[in-house]
Amino acid sequence: MDVSLTERAYIKMKAASINNLKYLEDKPVIRVGTGTCGKAAGALRIREAFKDELTRKGIDAGVVEVGCMGHCYAEPLIIISKPGFPSLCYGKVDEVLVKRLVEDFLINNDPCYEFAMAALEPNDIFPTFRDFPRGVYEEKMILENCGFIDPEEIDFYIARDGYSALADVLNMEPGEVLGEVKASNLRGRGGAGFPAGIKWEVVRKAGNGMKYVICNGDEGDPGAFMDRNILESNPHQVIEGMIICAYAVGASLGYLYIRSEYSQAIRRVNNALRQAREKNLLGASILGSAFCFDLEVFSGAGAFVCGEGTALINSMEGGMGIPQHRPPELAVSGYLGEPTVLNNVKTFCYVPLIMRKGADWFKKTGTPGSPGTAVFTLAGKIAGPGLVEVPMGTTLRQLIFDVGEGIPRNKKFKAVQIGGPSGGCLPEQALDIPLDFDSLEEAGAMMGSGGLVVLDEDDCMVGMARFFLNFTQQESCGKCTFCRLGTKHMLEILKAITRGEGDMASLETLRELAEDVKTGSLCNLGKTAPNPVLTTLKYFRDEYEAHIKGKCCPSLKCPDLIAYFIEPDKCSKLCNICVGSCPVEAIYTRDNGLKAINRDKCVKCDNCLKACPPEYSAVIKVSPPGLVEEREREMK
C-alpha cells in the first residue's frame, strides 16, 4: 500500500518540477556560477550584465544561478546552452565578453569558440572537459551536478531524479537500506575512513529512543573547500543522504553543523530545507509515509578542533569546543547523550547514489578496500589547481602530473603534503602509491580532508613542517598535556632550527616529542599533529641537518638563513630598478656605479630579486648568509 503512496507522490512531484522548469526549454539558458569562488571573482556583476544586455537587446533567455563545477581558477564562469549548439562553458568572463556573447552567439549564432573553455556534451565541433588532461582520470560521482543545477531551486534537483532514492527507500525495510550501505563499503570521507554502514548499524541497534543524525560541515583544514562547495552547489544531495540515513537508523531529528564563516552555504542550506519541507520531503509523514524527520542548521563558531566529533557535540550542547575521551563513541552516546550518527558532507552525498544505483555500481569504482571516488583540492606548485574528483586508487603521480598537469616553470618536484595539517609530506619515491585510506596511512600520511599541496625544489621542508605545526599548535584546545605543551615545544624547536639556532640534541628531542605527542594525546588533533614533522624527518632529514650543522637553508627559503647579493659582473650600472623596488632603502649605489645591499637594513622581501630585469639577473640569494662576505672578500 505504502509502495504506491510514496512513489506516486514522487512521480507527481517530479512532473511538477519538470513543468516548473519548462520556461527554460526552447530558449538559450545562461548558467552563472555563483559559489563563493564565483562571487569573489565578480559573478554577480556578470549575472547583472547578462540580464541588462538581454533586456536591452530584447532577447528571451533564462539566466540561472548555479554552484561551482571545480574550475575555480577560471571564475567567473558561465555556461551557455542554446538549442542547436552544444552547451559551452566560458571562463574569466568580463562585461566585454558578456556583450560579445549576447551579440555574436545569442543573436548571430557565432559561439565565439576562441573564448570557450569546453563543451559539456560530446560533439564534433568543440572539445569537452573529458578531453582535458584531467578528464581522462576524473570521474564525477558526488560533484556531478555541482555547477549545473540551481542550488536555490529544488526543482532542478528533483528534475534530475533528486529524491527518487528517498521515495524508493521509504518502501524498503530500514534494515534493507542499512544492508545496502554496508554492502557498498562506503567509508567516511571526513578523514578517518570509518565504514559508514557499521557506524549506522550501532545507532540502529541502540533501542527505540531519541537518535540524531549530524552532518559534519565544519571543514577546518586550511585550503580545503570541497564541503563548502557541495553545500553551496547541491545542498539537496546532502539533505537526501541524511534523510535516508535517518530512516535507516530510526532518527527523527538531525543537524547540519556548518561553520559560521560559510554564510552562503548556511543560507543556501536553510533555503533548501525550507523548500524540502514545503514539498513534504522533511517533517511529518514524509512523502505520505509514516516516517517523520526534520533537519536544522547549527552554525559553529569555526574552530578546527570542532570538526572532531566529541568537540563538535560539546559545542552543539553549548559547552567549549573541547574533545572528550572515547569510548563512548558518538554512535552510543552522542548529542545530548543519545545515539548519534556523525558523517561528513561527502559521505552523505554518496548515499542517494548508492541507493539509486546499488552497492555493486558503487564498488565498480575505486579499490576493493576503498570503493568510490575521492575529492581533492589541488594547491601549491601545480599547473592546474582546483577541485577534482577521481577514483580511489589513482596514484599520486597521476593526480599531480596528469590531472594537475605537473609542476609549473620546469621546477623539480620535491614533496606532496597530503591530508591537510595533520597529514604527511611524501617524497618522490612515494608517488606511485595508490590514493586510498589504507595506503596513505601506511606511508605516514592520511586522506584527511583531501587537501593536497605540491611542493617543488624551492620549498623548504623544515619550513613546511613549521608552517603546519604552527597551525595545529594554534588550534589545540589546550585540554591535554601532550597537545597543549608538546606541540608548543616542538614548534619552538622548529623555529630555532629555521633561525639557524638548532642543535642535534634538540633535533632528537623534536623526534621524541613528535612520537610521544602522537601516541600520548587525547584526541586525533594531537595524535596527528606530529605527522608533518615525522614525515619530513623521515624523508628529508638532510634538510634538517643542513639547517643545524651548516646554518644553511638548501631551498633558500628561511629568512634568517639567507642573504641577498648583487653579482657585480652581472649588474648593469645604468639600471636603478632594484633601488626603487626596495621598501626599506637597503640598496645603494657604490662609487663605481654597481649596486649593493646593506644587509643590516634588508628585510628579505624578495622585491629586488624579482625586479632585476631577466637580462641581468644580477640579484641572487645565498645560504648561509656568511657566503656574502666571502664573495665580497673575493671581489677585493
Binding site: 575521551h325 589545540s476 589546550g478 585540554k479 598535556t481 615545544h489 621524541e512 600520548g520
Partner: protein, 215 residues
C-alpha cells in the same frame, strides 16, 4: 557494574568490580599510578593530564588508567618502557610550564608533582625542554587563600570542587590552547567573584597553585 572480577596488575591478583576505572582499582590496592586530573566521582573522566598510562596485555599502545574500565582477566603492567617514556615526557612537559621554586612553595613536601617524581624516579628539573616563560600573576584578593597561576598544572580539580562539590561556580577554564587557564568570569579578581571562600578548591589543588595564606 556489580560483578566481581579478577585482574592482574604487575603480577598481583586483584579483585575489582567490572566496569570500575582501572586507576581507582589500582590506587585502592596500593599500586601507585601517577595522576593529576582524575576525580573519582566524575562520570566522564577528563583524561587531560596524560600521566596515568598503563599497558594492557593485548593492546598495542599504552592507555590511560583513568578511562579504562576493568574487565575480567585483564593483565595490566604499570611500568613498561613505553609507559615510562610517555610519563617521563608528559611530566617534563608539565614541569616546563610550572614555576619551579619548591623551596618557597607552600606545597613543598606534599606536592603531587614531587610525589610523581619520587615514585617514578624522575627529576624535578628540565633536561630536554626549555622553560616556557609564564608571567607571575598571583591573585591574593581572597582573605584566606591565594591563586598562583604560574604553578597551575590545569588539572581542573579545583573547578570540579567549585562546581560540583561547593556548587558555587566562581572559577572555570577559559581561553584555548597554550593560553588555557583557570579564571573567574571575565578575569576578575577572586574577591570580585561569587567565591564563598569555602576552601574546597584549595584542598583539591594537587600542587601549590591554590594555597591557604599563613595564619
Amino acid at each position: 557494574m556489580n560483578r566481581k572480577v579478577v585482574i592482574i596488575i604487575d603480577g598481583q591478583k586483584i579483585t575489582a568490580r567490572e566496569g570500575e576505572k582501572l586507576l581507582w582499582v589500582a590506587l585502592e590496592n596500593k599500586v601507585y599510578i601517577p595522576h593529576l586530573c582524575a576525580v573519582k566521582e566524575q562520570e566522564r573522566p577528563t583524561a587531560g593530564c596524560r600521566l596515568c598510562f598503563v599497558e594492557i596485555e593485548g593492546t598495542c599502545n599504552p592507555v590511560t588508567a583513568c578511562t579504562q574500565p576493568v574487565k575480567a582477566g585483564m593483565t595490566v603492567k604499570t611500568r613498561t618502557p613505553a609507559v615510562d617514556r610517555l610519563v617521563r615526557t608528559a611530566f617534563e612537559l608539565l614541569l616546563s610550564e610550572h614555576r619551579l621554586n619548591c623551596g618557597e612553595c607552600p606545597k613543598n613536601g606534599s606536592c603531587e608533582l614531587q610525589k610523581i617524581a619520587r615514585e617514578r624516579g624522575l627529576k624535578l628539573n628540565l633536561h630536554r625542554l626549555k622553560p616556557l616563560s609564564k608571567k607571575v600573576i598571583i591573585d591574593d584578593s581572597p582573605r584566606s587563600f591565594a591563586f598562583d597561576a604560574g604553578r597551575c598544572v590545569l588539572c581542573g580539580r579545583c573547578v570540579w570542587a567549585d562546581h560540583r562539590i561547593a556548587g558555587v561556580g566562581a572559577i572555570g577554564f577559559s581561553r584555548r590552547g597554550i593560553h588555557r587557564r583557570i579564571t573567574t568570569f571575565a578575569d576578575r579578581e577572586l574577591a570580585q567573584s561569587p567565591c564563598t571562600e569555602c576552601g574546597l578548591c584549595v584542598e583539591a589543588c594537587p600542587v601549590g597553585a591554590l594555597y591557604f595564606k599563613k595564619n
